[in-house]
């Protein structure tokens, strides 16, 4: 704690800590000093000169946003001299602010307007000049009106704080303006459209294109909730006018949101949403009443249960629903129908890594974004943080700007890899070799935490097994020289506060174990990792037991059955449940009915042609979703689902924080929890909740709130490195990597139905070639290519970009057809497919050739 000092502001004595800015000290004393360039979330620049105050003994007037208090300082914020100076500056600014407040979206929220009013400026003494700029409308989201810009520099500051740093002042004198370095449109200058600049602009110079003339800030009803895109789970405040979503911001103007969080919400109000249930009649999905659809679905499922037993029915749920819905879903299947055949998208999106991590390190090793901002050394493994988990990306960039060191292991030349001290561009699938090599170098270079490591089990075994590891083999498999690994090990090992950040859905279980080993070896005070999660509620979905092998609370089926039978008041199935792959394999024979909520396995699951075939062979399929997905198209009954923006409940983000989700608009369709309970009731299992709150209460009483389990004993895991993913061969010589893009998200269902589609070219319909492969395969940018795997082929267009090393290709995960290519073979332990690395062949031209 810094020392307390006493200052006198307008005659009032206040105690504040030393180093406080005058403007802050005044605020604590309840005095608002007018300010335009100053913003609490940004470093002060002192450029607008509106916040001038008088400080006794100081020469001239002092900018209160840059001057720090000193003990005994006497400050006057409202003398005639101060007001005069302030009025003068405001008049000057107004003389160059030629807009019509009448039709400005910022009217009523404009800070310039506010202070002009407070100081009673009716008309500026200076001749008003219209700067005469054209409004910059060159990008789809942010309109920049230079005629209104007061050059406060807030947007420049925030762009830097968020790690983008792509806009700055250009030119001088009166023609100074804020622009990208060559005054090119944002999208050509590396802007990721975090929209933070919009949030901090004090005037109407930056406005969201789609919000123009649709409602002013003071007309908005604001609701705080959580972003339902990626697993960062950023806090969002929705502004609603007349029941329509106008905008989203963070809780405070400086809070980061990515393009999805900021601009990706119109999908909620997209007219293509399913609002009414559909029942397939003569092969055609036809609108029905809600009652009719529930009744029909329940009856058909009951029929199947009666005829073939409860285990002929299965359920699959996405990883982006609330805890409450996930909980009800599995309860319905287990207690209502009587089967453990339950699975969720979590299995495809990192659940195996989470389970492994839990076993190796306990959840206590998981750090928060704030923790990341404070580490001095980071190791990123397969985590395209700025693209896939943008808030983590910002945390990493902030750590870097305070001097942290970075080692990146990634086949892709990601944006963050450009900032790395050591970038290890490994061959796709060679992570296990790289990490084993790093472990060995950490040990050999003696840059590890011996004291901590000794306390962990199997340390001697680890040393022995690494002793046998041949670095030549590591070099051969990964294409990385051992010198690089040695340097990386030294850099990382010498860090005092370290963290390993990795993409949970991209690492193999073995890779996960190696990450745990490195973390233990360099643990210092404790192991620390951040598994990045793509889905907004992956943790919650797992925790709520929406998986064959666990009850809520990640409790094993056999161990916890008695407890749950007691609370749920029914006999629960003994038979182990099937994972999604196993269910798919049994469809048409052992599995005849399916209930799928908020998930589209036909697009999301690997080997999608066979998924579609399997689903078609069911006797009865109920799909509950917001859009008519490929899966829903195959359903016999489609029930409308709602988005998180219409839901109440909780989720658990990647940092292990439980966050409250609130409906920001009236749901367009029946809520998911009501639909599940309605279906259950019709199937003779009445759950009888009257609100989401009651479900939450039951969860709490049963499984306690999700929380980190701290561990006090650890053990190393011995790993024999293997190549992960599908191995290329003569026929399929290349590796295709499926990954995220900045403006697409996962299967693309939301982003494609939102205005983000304006920025994701061809809705992800392309494959990235590096220039070397492009030359040898005679491929030009934009030309048609066919990608073929052991499962099928896809025709798409080529994009040339040096992102991956030679022989490797990239396909956006929001590509419609990427599921056709991927392999669905699963590992025996966690039954999850390694579907992001696919062996393929590539040829020029369409599929018919």
């Amino acid at each position: 704690m810094s020392e307390q000092v006493t200052v006198t502001i307008n005659g009032k004595e206040v105690k504040v800590s030393e180093g406080t800015l005058i403007i802050q000290a005044a605020k604590m004393a309840g005095i608002d000093i007018p300010h335009l360039c100053y913003c609490e979330c940004l470093p002060s620049t002192g450029s607008c000169r509106v916040c001038l105050v008088e400080v006794e003994g100081a020469k001239g007037l002092v900018a209160s946003c840059t001057r720090k208090v000193k003990n005994g300082m006497v400050i006057n914020t409202n003398t005639e001299k101060v007001r005069e100076a302030r009025r003068f500056v405001l008049e000057l600014i107004l003389s160059n602010h030629s807009g019509d407040c009448m039709s400005c979206d910022k009217n009523g929220a404009c800070e310039l307007q506010k202070y002009a009013y407070e100081l009673g400026i009716e008309k500026t003494s200076f001749s008003m000049k219209d700067p005469g700029y054209e409004i910059d409308k060159s990008n789809p989201f942010i309109e920049r009106n230079y005629n209104l810009c007061i050059l406060c520099g807030r947007c420049v500051g925030i762009c830097k704080t968020q790690g983008a740093d792509i806009i700055d002042f250009i030119k001088r004198g009166m023609i100074t303006k804020v622009a990208t370095p060559l005054d090119k449109p944002l999208q050509e200058s590396g802007c990721d459209f975090c929209g933070s600049c919009l949030a901090v602009c004090p005037v109407g110079a930056l406005l969201e294109v789609d919000r123009r003339f649709r409602g002013r800030e003071w007309e908005m009803e604001e609701t705080k909730t959580v972003c339902s895109y990626c697993g960062c789970g950023c806090d969002l405040v929705f502004g609603i006018v007349d029941g329509q979503i106008m905008r989203t911001t963070g809780e405070s103007p400086g809070d980061f949101l990515c393009a999805k969080g900021r601009f990706g919400w119109d999908f909620v109000e997209n007219p293509k949403r399913i609002i009414k249930p559909l029942i397939k009649k003569d092969g055609i999905l036809t609108e029905s009443t809600y009652e009719e659809a529930i009744k029909f679905a329940a009856e058909r499922l009951l029929d199947i249960k009666k005829a073939h037993g409860a285990n002929s029915i299965g359920g699959f749920i996405g990883a982006g629903n609330t805890n409450e819905v996930a909980y009800l879903f599995q309860k319905f299947l287990r207690a209502g129908i009587g089967t453990n055949n339950i699975d969720s998208s979590a299995r495809l999106l990192g659940f195996p890594a989470l389970i492994d991590l839990y076993e190796a390190l306990g959840d206590g090793a998981v750090v928060s974004m704030e923790d990341i901002e404070e580490v001095d050394t980071l190791l990123l493994v397969n985590a395209d943080v700025t693209v896939a988990y943008p808030r983590v990306g910002v945390a990493v960039k902030r750590a870097l700007s305070s001097g942290a060191k970075l080692v990146v292991v990634d086949a892709g030349r990601t944006k963050i890899s450009e900032k790395a001290d050591i970038y290890i561009q490994s061959k796709a699938g060679s992570d296990e070799f790289i990490l084993s090599g790093l472990l060995k170098e950490l040990l050999d270079g003696k840059v590890y935490d011996e004291e901590f490591a000794k306390k962990c089990g199997k340390f001697e075994d680890l040393k022995k097994s690494l002793g046998k590891l041949k670095m030549e083999m590591v070099e051969k498999e990964s294409g990385i020289s051992k010198d690089v690994l040695k340097r990386a090990a030294k850099l990382y090992g010498e860090g005092k506060k370290t963290v390993i950040v990795f993409g949970a859905e991209t690492v193999s279980p073995q890779t996960m174990e190696l990450i745990a080993n490195i973390s233990l070896l360099t643990g210092k005070t404790r192991a620390s990792v951040l598994p990045c999660l793509l889905s907004s509620n992956l943790r919650g979905t797992v925790y709520m037991g929406a998986l064959a092998e666990f009850y809520p609370g990640v409790r094993k089926i056999d161990e916890a059955r008695n407890d749950f039978e007691k609370t749920w008041g029914v006999k629960l199935p003994k038979k182990a449940g099937l994972s999604i792959k196993e269910m798919l394999d049994g469809m048409g024979s052992s599995i005849l009915g399916m209930y799928i909520v908020g998930a589209d396995p036909v697009t999301q699951f690997p080997n999608s042609s066979s998924v579609a075939k399997s689903l078609s062979s069911l006797d009865f399929l109920v799909a509950q979703d917001t859009f008519l997905t490929e899966t829903a198209k195959l359903a016999d009954v489609v029930l409308p689902g709602i988005t998180l923006a219409e839901s109440n409940g909780t989720i658990v983000n990647m940092e292990y924080r439980t966050k409250e989700v609130r409906a920001v608009i009236e749901p367009l369709a029946e809520t998911d929890w009501k639909t599940v309970t309605a279906l259950s009731k019709r199937m003779n299992y009445t759950m009888g909740y009257s609100s989401e709150k009651e479900i939450a209460k039951e969860i709490k009483s049963l499984v306690f709130v999700p929380k980190k389990i701290e561990r006090d004993t650890y053990s190393f895991i011995l790993v024999e490195p293997k190549v992960s993913g599908e191995e290329p061969d003569k026929k399929y010589p290349y590796t295709l990597i499926v990954g995220e893009t900045t403006f697409g998200f996962y299967d693309g269902i939301r982003t494609k139905n939102s205005k983000l589609s304006r920025l994701e070219p061809n809705a992800g319909d392309y494959v990235i070639f590096n220039s070397e492969d492009a030359t040898s395969l005679k491929i030009e940018d934009g030309c048609e290519v066919t990608v073929k795997s052991r499962r099928g082929k896809v025709t798409t267009s080529a994009k040339i970009l040096d992102f991956l090393p030679k022989g490797m290709f990239f396909m956006p995960s929001c590509h419609d057809k990427r599921g056709i290519l991927a392999s669905d073979s699963i590992d025996s332990k966690l039954k999850s497919p390694q579907h992001r690395l696919i062996a393929v062949s590539i040829s020029k031209g369409g599929a018919n050739k």
Binding site: G60, A85, F126, K129, G153, F169, R172, G173, M174, T176
Partner: protein, 598 residues
Amino acid sequence: MVKGKQTRVFICTGTGCVLSGSMKVKAAFKSELKKRKISEIDIVQTGCHGFCQQGPIVVIQPEGFFYPRVSVENVPRIVEEHLVGGKVVEDLLYEDSLTNKKIPLYKDINFYKKQNRIVLKNCGLIDPEDIDDYIEHGGYKAFKKVLSEMTPEKVIEEVKASGLRGRGGAGFPTGLKWDFARKAPGDIKYIICNADEGDPGAFMDRSVLEGDPHSILEGMVIAGYAIGASEGYIYVRAEYPLAVKRLGIAVEQAKKKGFLGKNILDSSFNFNVKIKEGAGAFVCGEETALIASIEGRRGMPRIRPPFPAQSGLWGKPTNINNVETLANVAWIIVNGVDKFTSIGTEKSKGTKIFAVTGKVKNGGLVEVPMGTTLREVIFDICGGVKDDKEFKAVQIGGPSGGCLPAKFLDTSIDYESLAKTGAIVGSGGMVVMDKSSCMVDLARYFLAFTQKESCGKCAPCRIGTKRMLEMLQRMTRGESSEEEVVLLEQLAEDVKVSSLCGLGQTASNPVLTMLKYFRKEFEEHVKEGRCRAGVCSELITYVIKDNVCKGCGVCKKHCPVGAIRGEKKQPHEIDVTKCVKCGICMQHCSFDAIYVAK
């Protein structure tokens, strides 16, 4: 008779002389000597002599015969008659403008006689591209002394005692600044030499950079030793290619001689100098903007504190000094504090260089002791106003300085006395004006410069200077009013107190002093639409009422540009294309026949 080996031909290759053709003159000397197979006479290219109006300048050493305005055609005669014949070429010698007498020797020329050259001591006398020449003239002696005999604290003490103040404009005591930087916590510290020299019309720093680059390096290494820095930057504007080149040569030579690098002169002191070319924005001369620019960011000033001495380049304690400031340092060390403090006034010690331009007979670089009066500089050294016209005003300190009328001619040049008048010592620009200069137009000119060069960061400077400029533009076009003159003054005051950096804080100085000392001219512009200097030709027109005109011809006689036509006894007429709107005709008409048409 061919003279001995020591005869050398010094040809000025400062930018001024190069522009007037000294490189051709140098080539002519070379070929002429070659033609005559004379190899004993060296041709030495030197830096600026300061007397740029007289360029290209050739000096024959060791005697110091001074040939001004030498053309290629003159070269054979100088070689034939002077170098070979041993006889001074009388008609090519410099002629004193007052006495019309020929003056053969450099040192006897009034221009030099009254100067006291400390900083410029070597300029024009040594070859700036030859470190040995510098050493022969006592160079690096100070540095050797510092390194072998003085502790850093002692060096700072000396500089403090000398009373040396920053020559970059603000006049901050240099020793104190070094002391702050020395005492600031941190292992890594920097020295920056500010060679941005952005004032239009100023070329003091350029001349030192081009004429005596080692004196700056020597100042820098001494400063580095004193504050505990091991790296220095010279931020020099890219528009000074010759300076950049010579600095580069100087750094290389100093490295070879062991004055720069690791373990300098076998001590544990390390120091290196990097040259950074600036893009030539005026504001980049402001220290925090300059630092930003070196760091590769946009050159924009930031709020101080923290001052560079606490947190400067890359956030490390940094001492930044002007070229001229640094060039004083070695002299002080070698000649001693007492000698330095004996020059100047009580609070302003040493000398100051001025670049005197404008309507003056012998413009150029002038180094005078602090305390010299304006009159001495303008009249005694520079020979007075051109064409012996009446002195009207002098602008000191460039666009940040003030404009003083004749009543201040006897003001002593020192920080305190000038500040009292509203002007500043500034970096050393001095523009002399006669009656043909319009003060309103001049104010407009300076503001046009500052407003264009405003970095655009803070509102008062960015918008305020623009609004002032617009008002002044209206005044020069006769579209203004008396109220606006009042508003202009208010605006100028407000910009001064509320701007963020020195640029905005001083941008009003020209306007404010002009309003203070030449207010009448402003009023004439706005009230009568008259520009007495005849500069603001866009002002309203003068018309002769033909029914009132008696055809007396008085106006015709007085019109300075012959814009009035008319037969005797016939109504006269003003030719608007020739009229410069000075209003003289109207003043002289006894019949009120001339009026101003708006």
